[in-house]
Symmetry: none
Subunit: 243 residues, 4 copies
DNA sequence: CATGAATGAGAATTCATTCAT
DNA sequence: GATGAATGAATTCTCATTCAT
C-alpha cells in the first residue's frame, strides 16, 4: 500500500492531499454533511479531480478507509510480531485498537455507519475484507492464549473477538463526544474479564489471603505461597485437599 | 403503551397504518432508501398526511422506534418482574433481546445507524432515553447478581452491559443477511462467560468454603465471610459434604 | 386524452403550461439544448414542479409527443371518417401529415431523433404505439384503394406506407430550415406516383387524348376510348377496341 | 481513399485502430453512450491521443463517417461503371445500399441521428457532401432511365431518390433489431414500384401501340419510333406485333 | 506522437417539507 | 384530518476537452 519509490507522481500527491482532507472532513462533519465540493474547494482543485481519482463519494470514503486500515494493520502486525508474552501482545493489540478508537472515533464512526450499518454493499465488502485481515491477528493470538489457558478455551475465539470489539464499540459510542474518553482503560477491563486468572479472582484472592493469614496465624507461618492459580482453572487446590 | 380507549379515532388508525408501513419500509430498504412518498403511496394516502402525523421523516422513524421500544420494554418488564431466580431472569432478559435481534435486526440496524451513529441529536436523545429505561432493568439485575456473586462484582455493571449488548450487536452484524441467525445461542454464551461459576471458579469456591469452614471450626471462629454466592450453584456440594 | 370536464385543476393548468413551453423549447433549441431549468424559469415555476408532473426530461418529451399525436390523430380520424371518395380521403390524410410536417417539422424532428433514432427504449415504444394507431387509418384506406384498383394491389400496404412516410421525411429533411417548404406539393407527387391512373400519365394522357382525337378525326372515327383509366388498369378496353 | 504508401506510420496505425473501435462502439452503444474514454481504454491508449487525431468526439464520428462513405462510394462507383443495362446498374446500386443498411444499420442510424437529425452543422455538412457525391451516381442513372422510359419521366429525379432512400430508411427503422432484416427484398420492391413497366404503364403502352398502329396504318409507314423502353420487358411485344 | 492529469460547467434529479383549501 | 400541488435547495456525477511534459 505504501509506495516505496521516492518520486511521488503529481497525481499521487494530489490523491494523497484529497485523502487527507477528506478524512478530516468526514471526521468533523460526518459523511452526509461532507460535500465533495467543499473538499475540492478547500484544497483548491476541481471537483472533477476528486471524482477522477476516486470515482464517487463513497469511493472516496472507501479510500480513506483503506488508508486507515493499512496503517492500523501495520501497527497491529508490529505488535503481533513483537517478542514476548502472548498475553501481553494480545493486550497490546487490543490496546492499540482502543487507543485508535479514543483518538479517531469520529472517523471510525463514519466507517461503521456507512459500511456496516449502511446500505452500500461495496463499501461493506471492503470493510469486511479489511476487518478479516485485521482480526486474523487477534484470532491467532486468542487461540494461542486458549491453548495456554490464559483465555477460557471453551469459548469460541470468534465470540471472544465479538465480545472485545463489540464492547469497545459500545463503550466508545456511550462516551460520545466526550473529549477525554477512557476507552483504553475500559478495554483493558474487558480483557481482564476474559483472561482467566483475572476473571473475578480478586475476591477469591482476598479470601485466599484471609484464609492464608488465618492459617498462618494458626500455624505460626508466613510465606508467599498465595500466588496460586498461575494458569487458570487449576486443579491445584485439590492437591491441598489431598494433603 | 397500549391505548386502552376502545374506539380508535380515524386519525389514530391512519397513524397506526403509517407506522406499520413505515417500519416495514425502513426494515426492507433502510432509512435513506425509504421515501415518505413511497410509504404514503403504498397506503394510498397523501404525503402531507404523514407529515401531519409525524412532523418529519425522522420524526416518523422516532415514532417507529417508540413503538418498538414500548413493546420491548413491556416484555422486559414482564421478565424482570417474573418470580424466581435473578440469574434466570437476567438470562431471560438477554435472551429476549437476542430473540428480538434475530427477528428484527433490520429494524434495529436502522435505529442504530440513524440514532446512534447518525448525526441527528434529537433522534439520538430519543434512543438514549429508551435505552436508559430499558437497560435499567438489566442494571438492577446485574447489581443483584454481583451481590450474589453470580456476576463478578469487581466489574462495573455498565461494563457488563456494554459487553453483553456490544457483543450481541457485533454478532448480529456479522451474520448479516443470514436467514438462520444464531444470535440467541451466542448471546447465551456471552452471558456464560460473565457468570462467575462458569468462569472456572466453582471448584475453587467449593473448596474455599470447605477450607474456611474447617479452619473456623478449628480456630473456633464463625463470621459471615462465607455468605458469598448465596444463589450460586456451588454451595451445594458443600452442603452435601456437611451432611 | 382531452378532459371534457370544465374546471381544469390548478395542477392540470400547470401541466398544460409546461407542455406548451416545453414544445416550444424543443422546437426551437432541440432536445439537448433544452434544459428543464430554462423551461421552468420561463414559466416562473420551480424546476421540481416539472419533474413532479413528468418524472423526467424524456418523460416531458414523451408528454409533448402524446399531445402532438393526440391532436394529429383526431384530425386524421375526422378525415378518414369524412364522406366521399376513398382516394380523396387518402390524399387528404397524407396532405394533413405533410402540412403538419411543413408547419412543425422542428418538433417532429426532435421526436424522430430521440424516439426512433435515439436509444431510449421507453420513448421509442411510446412513439411506436402512437404511430401504429395513426398509421392504421392509412392502412385501412390503402387496402380499400387497392381493392378499387386505385393503388397497385401487388404492393404490400406496409410498403406503400413506408414509401409515403419515408419519402416525406426525406423531403422534409432535405429542405432543412428553409422557411417555405414545399412538402405538401411533393407529398402529393409521391401519392401520384403510387396512384395508378396518375402514375405519370396526366401529361401524357393529355397528349395522348389530343393525338388520338386528331387521329380519329383525321381517320374519320370516333369511339369512346378516351375515357381511359377511370379506375386503373383500363388498357383492357383496347382489346375490345381491337376486336 | 486507400493509402497507397506501404509502410503505415505508427500514427496512421493508431488512427486506424481508433477508427475501428470507435465505429464498433458507436454501433453498439450509440453516440451518446459512447465515451471517448471508453474507446481509449479499450485500445489501451490515452484519451488525449484520440483528440490528437480527431480533434473532437464529433470529429471522430465524422472520420468514421468518412471511412464508411469512402467504402460505400467505391462500391457504388464500381457498380455504376459496370457495363450493361442501366436499369440493372440502378437496381444494383440500390441493392448495394440496402445490403449495407441490412449489415450496418446501427452505424447508419448513428450518422443519421447525429448528422441529419442532430444539431451539429459541421457534421451535417459533412454528411451532405458525402451524400451528394454518392447520390449523384443515382441521379445520373435515374435521368438515363427516365430518358429510356424505364422510370417515369414526369417525376423529378430528386423525388425518385427521396422515395427510394426514404422508403428504405423507413423500412430499416421499422425492423429494429430484427436479426434477419429483409431490407434488400423490400428495397427491390420499391424500385419495382417506380419502374415504369411495372407501374401500370402497360395500359399506356398498349395505347401507344394502338396509336402507333393507327398512325402507321394511316400513314402507311413502319419505322422504329417505338424504341421507347429499349430495355423494358415491354418493347418486345410490339416488336412481335410488328412482325 | 503520446500521455496523464486536471478541469469545469453543467444538468438532471431527488425529496423532505410547506401550505392553502 | 386530509390532500394535492408546489417547492427549491443542494449534490453527485459525467465527460469532452486542454495542456504541459
Amino acid at each position: 500500500m505504501a509506495d516505496s519509490s521516492k518520486p511521488p507522481t503529481k497525481g499521487a500527491r494530489t490523491r494523497a492531499t484529497i485523502l487527507r482532507h477528506a478524512a478530516e472532513s468526514f471526521r468533523r462533519d460526518g459523511y452526509d454533511d461532507t460535500t465533495v465540493a467543499s473538499i475540492a474547494q478547500k484544497i483548491g482543485i476541481s471537483e472533477g479531480t476528486v471524482f477522477q481519482h476516486f470515482g464517487s463519494k463513497s469511493g472516496l470514503l472507501g479510500a480513506v478507509m483503506d488508508e486507515f486500515y493499512a496503517e492500523l494493520h501495520a501497527t497491529a502486525l508490529d505488535i503481533a510480531g513483537s517478542p514476548g508474552d502472548a498475553e501481553q501482545r494480545f493486550r497490546n493489540l487490543i490496546d492499540a485498537w482502543a487507543l485508535r478508537a479514543e483518538r479517531d472515533w469520529d472517523l471510525i464512526r463514519v466507517f461503521t455507519q456507512r459500511a456496516r450499518y449502511g446500505t452500500d454493499p461495496e463499501l461493506d465488502a471492503r470493510w469486511k475484507e479489511h476487518n478479516r485481515r485485521y482480526t486474523r491477528l487477534h484470532f491467532d493470538l486468542i487461540e494461542q492464549l486458549q491453548a495456554q489457558g490464559v483465555l477460557k478455551d471453551q469459548v469460541p475465539p470468534a465470540l471472544i473477538r465479538d465480545i472485545v470489539f463489540g464492547a469497545i464499540e459500545h463503550i466508545a459510542l456511550g462516551q460520545d463526544l466526550s473529549p477525554h474518553m477512557e476507552i483504553r482503560e475500559k478495554a483493558n477491563q474487558v480483557v481482564d474479564v476474559l483472561v482467566a486468572h483475572h476473571a473475578g479472582q480478586p475476591p477469591i484472592d482476598g479470601r485466599l489471603e484471609r484464609i492464608e493469614r488465618k492459617l498462618d496465624a494458626a500455624l505460626g507461618r508466613g510465606d508467599g505461597s498465595v500466588k496460586v492459580m498461575p494458569e487458570g482453572r487449576t486443579g491445584d487446590g485439590s492437591a491441598a485437599e489431598r494433603a
